[in-house]
Amino acid sequence: MSVHAAHHAPTSFIRKHVFSLDHKVIGKQYYALALVAAMVGMFLSWLMRIHLAWTNAAIPGLQLLSANGAPGGVMTPEYYLQLMTMHGTIMVFFVLTTAPFAAFGNFFLPIQVGAEDMPFPRFNMMSFWVTFTAFIVLMASFFVSDGPTLGGWTQYAPLNAVGPLAGPGQGMGVILWMASIAIFCVGQLLGSLNFITTTLDLRVKGMSLMRLPLSAWAWFITSCMGLTAFAVLMPACILAILDHVAGTSFFVPSNLVISGQLLPHSGGSTLLWQHLFWFFGHPEVYIAIVPGIGIVSHILLANMRRPMLSQRVLIYCMGALAVLSYMVYGHHMFVSGMNPYSSLAFSFPTLAITIPATITVLIWTFSLYGSKLRINAASLFALGFISMFVSGGVSGFFLAQPSIDIMLHATYFVVGHFHLVMAVAAMFGIFAGTYFWFPKMAGRMMNETLGKAHFWLSFVGAYCIFMPFHYLGMAGNVRRYSTFVDDYLQPLIPVHRFITVAALLTGCAQLIFLYNLIHSRFWGKPAPDNPWEATSLEWSTATPPPFDNFGGKHPIVYHDPYQYGVQSSVGDYVMQASPEQVKTEHDEK
């Protein structure tokens, strides 16, 4: 299909760098937003971890952030919950959704399919600026009188709907949270629409669906999930705002007495919120991780120098994860008061989702067999992703079973599980993507030595932080406690201190990455067009790519995306856009 950019290269600074229609600039903007959000989120986690390990310790300067929340630098219980809520919200929405999907996807999806841009560049620009607005609205809640909401990133009803009576931050803090997330949903819907149409309509000649790189497949599948999941969360947030400002009772039942006052609400359902939230919430964790699966596959292939054992099976697995993600959400609600038969109905698909996840891991691992693995910062993070995905994945076995969930629900076991499988793994995917694609995005190489140092500290550090969370959970340590006052929790406090020290050190290691990123951006070695000897279309174009991606020439695709381990005129690979005929021995069986 012939593809023409819907716009011309801009010349003014504002149109070039701020309100740009270019998908590459928008991708970088998303990346920068995710980077800022990740730093804020990590900083909040430091504060939380210090408070959990040394409850009465004064954190110097914290009172400047909130005089009421931290008088004299000592965090109050409500401020802990407010920071926890913001940490979760910022990380899930503005980092894990934004970086692997919106940032890398925006930059590379059109190039990987051979397009000049996305089909709706204005929507694309809007999607970033809407997301940016959502972030500002969320941050604004730090500055309202009683601070951000303390209800956790899941914002359970009726705590999210009854106003300031229920605690600090439950008035304007909740309204800003709901508004921010509703706005965020608009951004993601616009983005998903663009991703889907780019994949379906803008592929160049020869780029059949099965010739799409795995990263492109992952973004496509993720955008299909985004279109359906965010479309449910947005109205849920709007209904919650109406409960605050319009006197409705969508999520508040009758006869509630809070702080001695009988509420005027009647007729709402608190479980309705949970169903709506988790119908979004579980696909959301796959929205965070599926791009990582695609990115890691893409990077591993270039570094294994051989095709995947089966590209097709991996695509089907990602599709199966996406479809099943809508049928499993009830496992968050086993002990919520939902009908206990529903728990059993949700348990089986949750257990069954292990099958595509296991096949994915097996395909990766056994594709390593007989490969010529290159070790560099990108491949280390990709391999680390597999290790983390396995470690976090096996604890899913436990949480999928309602009977075991009686013991593990709302404990640190859950915190360990989702951090490893979704947060750390997804972060490793983001890091792998950064080390791999930075040369193409910035035109310069990143420092490999610093990249490897960053990997070692992050890999060991992440295990030191998140593996002990599982042990705490098995001992019954409840999450979302600002202080551990229960008798049975006292022996567990040394474990929390170990985790805090590990978190601080691992956090510091991320500064190496930040330094590497900024330093390489300006002073890194200039990057060649194809530094990794990779095959997909982004490596066929100049570094950095011109405004229309391919300099006016539309590539034609002749090969499957990962023709490594062959003999061609350039080496052991043949690029997708190369017309050279090669003998392939290791294609899919």
Binding site: V257, S367, Y369, K372, M407
Partner: protein, 267 residues
């Protein structure tokens, strides 16, 4: 570096498994009649998940060790059997495993949630509110008086909103801040919240259940060991969530009867 990475993965996998094998951090001893089913389910899952975890990490490490940085002229090989063998293996091994876990797990779940309490189970009502639990025993008439939310008043200690002047059933209700149950007697716990979502978690009893505003939820269990255990809230309910707790005391029938009489006298 690849070999060092492989060794690191193996060391981390082994170190992670040691606290599990040594039972360093585990749930306390079970004191319920149904809890052993949950514990058995947990152990079986731990064995299967543990083997999967170690096997996956070891294979990953071995392949990284063996196949990294090979000479330029080394031949690319493919895993014998290819993807097909792996897919079949995953469906068979994981499929059977999850099916077995799922099916056997139903029994443990059914014991708590799908079987009704016996007719002679002792009813106790628990009310959750920011940030305390209150308990109500029906008294000699065996019936709880109705709750009037508008009458709930902490300062007059009318925690449940009872109207003892007009409701005959409420007159003999016994309201307490601690929970006591007789040993080996089935308890039918009627759960009610006056404000927000809360939860009732007693680790030793192997019981965790959310309170749902607007819905009355019930649970049943039998405690089998005398002792004092913590009841904690596990559903984020506001700033005092971390401090929302009460104690459950399991007593001999005689001690329980004495305790209840004493509580009744204090009303």
């Amino acid at each position: 570096m690849a070999k060092f990475f492989a060794v690191t993965i193996i060391v981390i996998a082994i170190l992670s498994a040691i606290p599990i094998l040594r039972h360093t951090w585990v749930a306390p001893e079970d004191i319920s009649t149904h809890g052993h089913l949950i514990d058995e389910q947990m152990s079986e899952t731990m064995a299967e998940a543990g083997i999967a975890f170690l096997a996956a990490q070891f294979i990953l490490a071995i392949f990284i060790w063996k196949f990294s940085n090979r000479p330029a002229d080394a031949k690319i090989k493919s895993f014998p059997g290819g993807a097909k063998a792996l897919v079949i293996a995953a469906f068979l091994v994981v499929g059977i495993e999850v099916l077995a876990l799922g099916v056997f797990g139903v029994k443990a779940w059914a014991d708590v949630y799908l079987t009704p309490p016996s007719a002679n189970a002792m009813p106790i009502q628990v009310q959750a509110g920011q940030f305390a639990f209150y308990f109500r025993y029906p008294g000699p008439d065996g019936t709880f008086g109705p709750i009037h939310p508008e009458l709930i008043n902490e300062s007059t200690e009318n925690f449940f909103g009872l109207d003892v002047d007009h409701d005959a059933d409420s007159k003999d209700d016994i309201v307490t801040a601690e929970m006591a149950v007789p040993i080996n007697k089935e308890v039918h716990l009627l759960m009610h919240t006056k404000d927000l979502g809360h939860s009732f978690f007693v680790r030793e009893l192997r019981v965790q259940q959310d309170f749902v505003p607007g819905l009355d939820v019930s649970l049943h269990f039998t405690a089998t060991k005398v002792g004092k255990y913590e009841i904690v809230c596990t559903q984020l309910c506001g700033l005092g969530h971390y401090n929302m707790k009460a104690y459950l005391e399991v007593m001999s029938q005689q001690d329980f009867d004495d305790w209840l009489k004493k509580q009744a006298a204090n009303q």
